[in-house]
């Protein structure tokens, strides 16, 4: 009987070179993943340092004056917070009905062919830079629409708000369409099986089932509208500062535009004492508000995904 040599066992151990490149790749990818954390840390760090200087040195009386004129030492935060809320409110009045209707049409009514054409066009609308919409607000929306129906100033918050709304429409439409399309078809079929019409199915079945996603769309829209800078900077005027005003037909300023207009066109941010620091304080406020909104919206989006 001959003994057959079994072949030498193949080592499952990686060769040195391959093991090394695997280790290097893992470390490099981890470092790249950590840079996003670094960015967050750097944002917080750059905001808090100067914002703290502002908070600790500013006199309380300067925070409650007739308006926001940082170069004259008047830091009335109410003025710009109110401006942000007014612009956001107008933007939502434009974006929510149009964006939501467009989403319902795309998700429930449009044929797949029509959808394939319409959706990309909506995405192109989303790609228009905000400074272009600012110019559009100033040269078209303000004279052709707002001033035609009222005696508004050329620079007014209403036109800027409408433009911000236009900017937010694609976002509202795409988030809410995603939510409605993730509602399983079985629910729609069950509704049709009971004899319900399309409109009843949409209103009584699809929308309630997708409600978390629709709430998320609303919150994301608010967050984006509050953070929008260039439209207001170009179209709402009041770049030097603004009196406390609730008149949307007149000029006004938001938190974002207040930051940009102090920095615009100058080599150094100039002004009395704490002007430079006030900019960081406003940015900090803006960061906290949007962070809060984004966290809530994220939770709602997650809820839709978990349900279906």
């Amino acid at each position: 009987m001959t003994v057959v040599d079994s072949p030498a066992p193949v080592s499952l151990q990686l060769s040195g070179r391959r093991a090394r490149s695997e280790r290097i790749a893992r470390v490099l990818f981890l470092v790249a993943g950590l840079t996003s954390v670094l960015v967050s840390v750097l944002i917080l760090w750059s905001l808090t340092r100067e914002a703290w200087t502002f908070v600790s040195q500013v006199e309380a009386a300067a925070l409650w004056t007739d308006g926001w004129f940082p170069r004259r030492g008047m830091y009335d935060i109410r003025t710009i917070v109110l401006g942000s809320f007014l612009i956001t409110g107008i933007a939502l009045l434009v974006a929510i009905p149009i964006g939501l209707s467009a989403a319902i049409y795309l998700s429930e009514y449009a044929s797949p062919r029509l959808r394939r054409i319409l959706k990309p066009v909506l995405e192109i609308l989303a790609g228009i830079p905000s400074v272009v919409l600012g110019f559009f607000a100033l040269t078209f929306i303000s004279p052709e629409i707002v001033q035609r129906f009222s005696d508004a100033d050329q620079f007014n918050m209403l036109a800027a708000g409408i433009a911000v709304g236009i900017l937010v429409i694609p976002l509202v439409a795409s988030v809410s369409e995603d939510a409605m399309r993730s509602v399983p078809n079985a629910l729609r079929e069950a509704s049709y099986g009971l004899g319900a019409r399309k409109i009843s199915t949409t209103v009584r079945i699809v929308i309630p089932a997708a409600v978390s996603g629709l709430v998320a769309a609303l919150i994301i829209a608010v967050s984006r509208a509050i953070g929008e800078t260039m439209v207001v900077f170009v179209a709402a005027g009041a770049t030097g500062g603004s009196l406390f005003s609730t008149n949307v037909l007149g000029p006004g300023q938001t938190m974002t535009a207040a930051i940009a207009s102090q920095a615009a066109g100058t080599d150094q941010v100039v002004g009395e004492g704490l002007t430079f620091q006030s900019l960081f304080f406003v940015a900090m406020l803006l960061f906290i508000i949007t962070l809060f909104l984004n966290l809530i919206a994220d939770r709602f989006v997650r809820r839709v995904r978990q349900t279906y």
Binding site: L14, R18, S21, E22, R26, F29, L30, A32, G33, T35, S36, V37, L42, I43, S46, L47, R49, E50, P97, S101, A102, I104, Y105, Y109, R116, P120, E123, I124, L125, G127, I128, P129, S130, V131, V132, F135, F136, L138, F140, K198, I199, I220, G227, T229, M230, F233, V234, T256, I259, A260, A263, G265, L286, F287, T290, L291, L293, N294, L295, D298
Partner: protein, 316 residues
């Protein structure tokens, strides 16, 4: 108890049949359908009006002196002002995004999708990135001002107080980083697991599977995200205002030599925002023409990316 007569049953049956087969128009449903479609058409109409408005507004400049507009430098008169420095600034911003943000973003996405275990740490990074994507752009401007302009000014621009195209490029790279990570991660997630398992089955390491199988399969999706984020960076103005883009008059900023990267800069959206504020019909036409130039770049890039994605989505 009264028994129902056969004729009753027949009558009831006929009523049911007529209820089902009667063709009644759903008027309310039709109206709703038209209203919904109207909203969508309105949104698209805005896009058309906007484009028609800037093209007609800028037509006098575009048709007669487009060459001067593209080659001229910033100035105080509309007829002699041009965009060459702005185009150069925007070009370098795109270069920075492609060189800095794209590799970093794709690598971070690979880490999240392929390497990270589904633990608390990965979830933390994921939430962090989603939040970064929602931070207002002007806040990124503050970051750029503090870090790249003030702290690293001696490197980014020793003669320009740090207000250089390097600072601008790095700031916008940070701004689009979360967008690149999110779109790349989505593209990588869409790669079927069978492809990975086949690779592991023949003894490939994770890096080899990623390099030779996952990345090639996800490439079209990643590319779409990259093009969209470059377009986004080209349209951003707010962070550049804080980083110190020049709005008025700029003597330098025409040279494409890398040694000029530490000089002062401007960019297309900045010029548009400045010119928008200047009075008079001539400035308005120049602004419209500048917008047409920027939209031509941004919208063509966007449309290309969207078509590319739809093309590959249909194939699979």
């Amino acid at each position: 108890m009264e028994l129902s007569k056969p004729s009753d049953a027949a009558r009831r049956g006929a009523a049911v049949v007529s209820d089902i087969t009667r063709r009644e128009r759903d008027i309310a449903g039709g109206v709703v359908r038209v209203v919904l479609m109207g909203a969508l058409v309105l949104a698209l109409l805005v896009l058309v009006v906007l484009i028609v408005d800037v093209v007609t507004g800028g037509w006098s400049v575009l048709s007669s002196s487009l060459g001067d507009l593209l080659t001229g430098t910033l100035g105080s008169k509309p007829e002699t002002s041009g965009l060459s420095q702005a185009i150069r600034g925007s070009f370098y911003i795109a270069v920075f995004v492609i060189i800095v943000a794209v590799p970093l973003g794709v690598a971070a996405a690979i880490y999240l999708e392929e390497y990270a275990s589904n633990g608390r740490f990965a979830r933390f990074i994921d939430i962090n990135i989603r939040n970064l994507a929602g931070v207002p752009s002007v806040v990124y401007g503050i970051l750029g001002l503090t870090i790249f302009v003030k702290m690293l000014g001696s490197i980014t621009g020793p003669d320009s107080n740090g207000r250089s195209v390097i600072s601008a490029g790095l700031t916008l790279s940070v701004l689009v980083l979360p967008i690149i990570i999110i779109t790349s991660a989505e593209a990588i997630r869409a790669v079927p697991n069978g492809i990975r398992e086949a690779g592991f089955g023949v003894g490939a390491t994770r890096w080899e599977v990623v390099r030779s199988h996952v990345l090639p399969y996800a490439a079209p999706g990643i590319l779409t995200g990259v093009v969209l984020s470059v377009a986004r960076a080209l349209g951003e103005a707010a962070p550049l205002i804080l980083v110190g883009a020049t709005t008025g008059f700029l003597t330098t900023g025409e040279s494409y030599l890398p040694s000029s990267l530490q000089e002062r800069f401007t960019a297309l959206p900045i010029v548009i925002s400045t010119w928008s504020g200047r009075p008079g019909v001539d400035w308005r036409s120049s602004t419209s023409a500048a917008i047409v130039v920027m939209l031509a770049i941004v919208l063509v890039a966007n449309a290309g990316a969207i078509l590319l994605r739809n093309h590959y989505e249909k194939k699979r």
